[in-house]
Symmetry: C2
Subunit: 734 residues, 2 copies
Amino acid sequence: MDLVIYLVLAASILALGFAFYFYKSMLKEDEGTDLMKKIALHVRNGAMAYLKQQYKVVIIVFVILAVIFAVMAYFGLQNEWVWFAFLTGGFFSGLAGFFGMKTATYASARTANAAKNSLNDGLKVAFRSGAVMGLTVVGLALLDISLWFIILTQFTDYDLVVITTTMLTFGMGASTQALFARVGGGIYTKAADVGADLVGKTEYNIPEDDPRNPATIADNVGDNVGDVAGMGADLYESYAGSILATSALGAAAFAKSAIDGMQLKAIFAPMLIAAVGVLLSIIGIFMVKTKEDTNMKKLLAALSRGTNTSSILIAVATFFILWGLGIENWLGISFSVVVGLVAGVIIGKFTEYYTSQSYKPTQKVSESANTGPATVIISGLGLGMISTAVPVLTIGVAIILAYLCATGFDVNNFMSAENLSLGLYGIGIAAVGMLSTLGITLATDAYGPIADNAGGNAEMSGLGAEVRKRTDALDALGNTTAATGKGFAIGSAALTALALLASYVEEIKIALVRVAEHASNGLAQITDNIALTAEEIHAASLVDFMNYYEVNLMNPKVLIGVFIGAMMSFLFCGLTMNAVGRAAQKMVEEVRRQFREIKGILEGKAEPDYARCVGISTKGAQQEMLFPSLLAIIAPIAVGVIFGVAGVLGLLIGGLSTGFVLAVFMANSGGAWDNAKKYIEEGNFGGKGSDQHKATVVGDPFKDTAGPSLNILIKLMSMVSIVMAGLTVTFTLI
Amino acid sequence: MDLVIYLVLAASILALGFAFYFYKSMLKEDEGTDLMKKIALHVRNGAMAYLKQQYKVVIIVFVILAVIFAVMAYFGLQNEWVWFAFLTGGFFSGLAGFFGMKTATYASARTANAAKNSLNDGLKVAFRSGAVMGLTVVGLALLDISLWFIILTQFTDYDLVVITTTMLTFGMGASTQALFARVGGGIYTKAADVGADLVGKTEYNIPEDDPRNPATIADNVGDNVGDVAGMGADLYESYAGSILATSALGAAAFAKSAIDGMQLKAIFAPMLIAAVGVLLSIIGIFMVKTKEDTNMKKLLAALSRGTNTSSILIAVATFFILWGLGIENWLGISFSVVVGLVAGVIIGKFTEYYTSQSYKPTQKVSESANTGPATVIISGLGLGMISTAVPVLTIGVAIILAYLCATGFDVNNFMSAENLSLGLYGIGIAAVGMLSTLGITLATDAYGPIADNAGGNAEMSGLGAEVRKRTDALDALGNTTAATGKGFAIGSAALTALALLASYVEEIKIALVRVAEHASNGLAQITDNIALTAEEIHAASLVDFMNYYEVNLMNPKVLIGVFIGAMMSFLFCGLTMNAVGRAAQKMVEEVRRQFREIKGILEGKAEPDYARCVGISTKGAQQEMLFPSLLAIIAPIAVGVIFGVAGVLGLLIGGLSTGFVLAVFMANSGGAWDNAKKYIEEGNFGGKGSDQHKATVVGDPFKDTAGPSLNILIKLMSMVSIVMAGLTVTFTLI
């Protein structure tokens, strides 16, 4: 049984191997004319320069946090592996973003060049490059997971519960890295995008990515650092987090199992599903191809064939995996996985419905442009708010079904200690199910920005309307498939966060034991407020802990926590929105200045000062990303110190529920405005440069900065709480 | 001691008496020229016609609900008084709105006419008319409360816990009425306002309230039905709800008190504070006057003198009241009241800070107009989101302090059964403290729309720029004082909702006993799932119920409830926003049509078809208000049926936390845009008709439709849960 972990390691190497293969084969493609190469180089250098700058800031934060964890370990408030595990999580998460971005910046000109031949060739280059990112993310995540598991089982005498919970702390590293990447990258890209659009498209009525627009290079760099590197780090975190949280829950749920080895099986189950998912993703990726005489519809069919095949296969395979593992109630737990998959599909479909110009809701937003910008905004906000209903209800049904399936529909003992552990495990593994085919779903998501950049390259290199039309078609197609991807990402975030809640309580248990053991270390006084013996702690169930810490809805500490959690989501979004607003304003002023002061710029006779615009985005992102990100780390610690375990759990629930709904709202409002914008750009309702057009630009920071960052915020707060549990149980004010 | 209730009755008669006196003295003022009278009559008739139309719809809903309650009473799921108490609550709430609006529509022309003399005269008429509304609301609420208390103690043998909880059900009537009034009125007024502004101000560049604008009458009618009648019903609900919830908590907290009569004292305490508040409000109202040679600063000082005096006096008086009543821990509970008052002031001040053009945040929103409408929207949204931090933290601190004060800072037994009941009582009475001087704070809030309408009348009757300037000054002043009023309203809503949560659990207890007693009525089978004996139920504390129903944060039912609650707030706002959007679009099209088709309309030679615009708003409001309002009633019932008590409590907490934060966000974003709009109208950043100007119009539905309705939504969901508790405990699916 112990050897299963080597299967996971093998899957990780397989993923990385294919990623490398696709990367190499992409590099073999022709990068096109000298001008194309030059532009690509500009973008590549800008993106790499930004990423280096960002990593410099992030490294400082990581070092400080690692030192804090080391100090905590010294005082027995954490174990001695955490600080290092934390660093590796951050490192791998950053690496996933870095590789993805490197690939994307090499792929854009090549995609544009391939699109000169045909739509199909363009798709092939872009999609395979997206697959590099998808496979790198899953490969690195499984590598980190399997190596750590091997190390901790070989070199420590921790029991499996402690091992799996310790591994969760590298999740915190990944989440921290992901938040910085999303927030920093998000501010960068949207400041550039909004700035470029507001002046270029709407004031001067020149096309997107026109080389005369000084913000064009910054805009293209932004797509890479925000949409590619940010997304890579983000999904690395989601993927690893869901597997780690579920393994930890499995270790806890089966800790007292009478059957030997059942605990290990429960730990391996999510890892193995993910490992098989890698294989099926690769199969799916190879299935994405069309004949030469292709059109949009056939392309979409090809992409769908790839993702659908992978999804259906993993659903079927899950039954065999869990049956083969011989896990208790394998049938029920398999259905939990299927529940997760189906929920992801439903949320994805509804996301598409609400944000695609092919359906009524977004069409109505475009229509409302007839009565001016205010009604565009009102109807977009209204759409986004209403669109939260289906995802929330879907997640609600998924939670209850995943729980019931895993517990054999034992409604009469719904909350018995055993059923609760099993049920939460079911919820966690549903999230793993959703993300199991990330290798291919991320590929369909990541190739969009590559196609977008290819379009930019084509425009700037003057490749002509036909090529641009093809890259635009690829980009539009990417939006459709990305909608489904977003459904999976957001749905899995909610389920994973729930699983992390339970892991938090498990960690509280471990922390209590650890603190009790270290009481001789001078902590005796502080630990006086823990009125439990080690035996009691070991025997206690999750519900016992709820009662002990009075984590019920009448406890004012819980209620205050919930309020603060709800507020945190809004505050965080407000800060990032304002950051984008400020940076975009500077960008707008700079672009206007250049148009005004650089003679001949509009006639294409003088070259704009691209570097200044890149500098504005870089500086804006660097300055603005720190405060909101640190807030996410500090808030759970502060609430823990003041209000204890009850307050922290309230905070996490409040942040999770409001954050989830707010994220869906912002993503869908933003998506609808973005597509309404495209529709107006096609000449409807006033066309480019009209007031209506200007108003729809508002969607960008919604969709690509604040919205996606919320997913990470929710989980990061949980991760921080888990890592800080030792502090929370030893010291609280009230 | 029993006689205290007659003091409350006396205070209610005092309030109504002074309301009548102010009303009569306002009527004695001269209504001005014939044209002024004619315009006022137009608006008055339009407003009354709308209100009648609205009441027709609402009556049907009320009759249906009353019948349902009667049926429930027959099956022992509710007691036999509920259906009637429910109706009276709705009736009085509607009456408060009706009287307020009647007064406002008589006062507008008189205010305009008085403003011809001086600013001071204008203030006097408008403010005294606002006071009619303030005193009517508190008078009717105390009348309803005292009469019902007398009836139930005289004619039934219910114990005090059952009596106070039964009285809460008339709160549901008030909440239902208030929601319809706010939503219907809010859609009406904003459809008219946005419609009038978008075409009149921004497309044709004619002044606000210009008689050439076909939507002008509808706009002025809207101010009355939305801002006046809606606000009246809303605050009636808040005021009565906070007193009733606190009395119910007091009855429960002191049910087992060893000292005779302590329970009754706890019930009377909030009523008595409110009664004394009436007296102090009247004193405050009389203190609002200035000398003839006045200016804005002196006017503001006069208003502040009135409200501050009342607030300080009630803070001092509370200590005497509670000491005089001889309630246990009177000192601590008095401090809870003071905590509420101070929290209200803090939230009010910060609301002003974030939304007034005198401070940086709103100035920055105006500034961002330099870079176009999208940045105006982004910065407004960012501001609103960030502005949620202070109110949430203030409420958090208020909750914990009110709780600790009431329990004598007994931190070691924070959640003991006794402390929990006492602490929740402290939270409830903090809300009563916030609202105790509603008589005057509502006057300062309600006179704003009257001044606004006076401005409309002045504009349409051509009274000249000087008069209009004065009414505008009064209106602007009203915005500043209204900000403080909003702080009190929203803060008290959060605290009251928390108190209602506890009342819900008390009602569960009562329902369990009632159902057990009626088991012979054919419910025996259903009640099998209640595994408690009557003795156990009586002996159980709030925490016992939490444990019995497993209302902890690991229960998936609770979590799903929280998710749905969070989503409900967004869905509700989305529905009302879209309703405004749709109605406003129709209005815009109609106004454009009239400008296009009616010859000579812009030159003032032909009269616009005002009635059609009134009709569009009326129809829009009628059609659109039903669904969101009914949703608020159905959601808690549905969640109760499916997920039981745990799910309902999750729903209420989710709705409360997200709803509160969302309400602050929308109110402040909306307020900031509104003031930015005024600033731009003064000729800054492009002035009237610019894109920037158009974009700021988006704030209206935020501020006046969706935002304020959320306060009621939160409480209505709690009230519905309380009334439906009998159903929830007898029948749940999972």
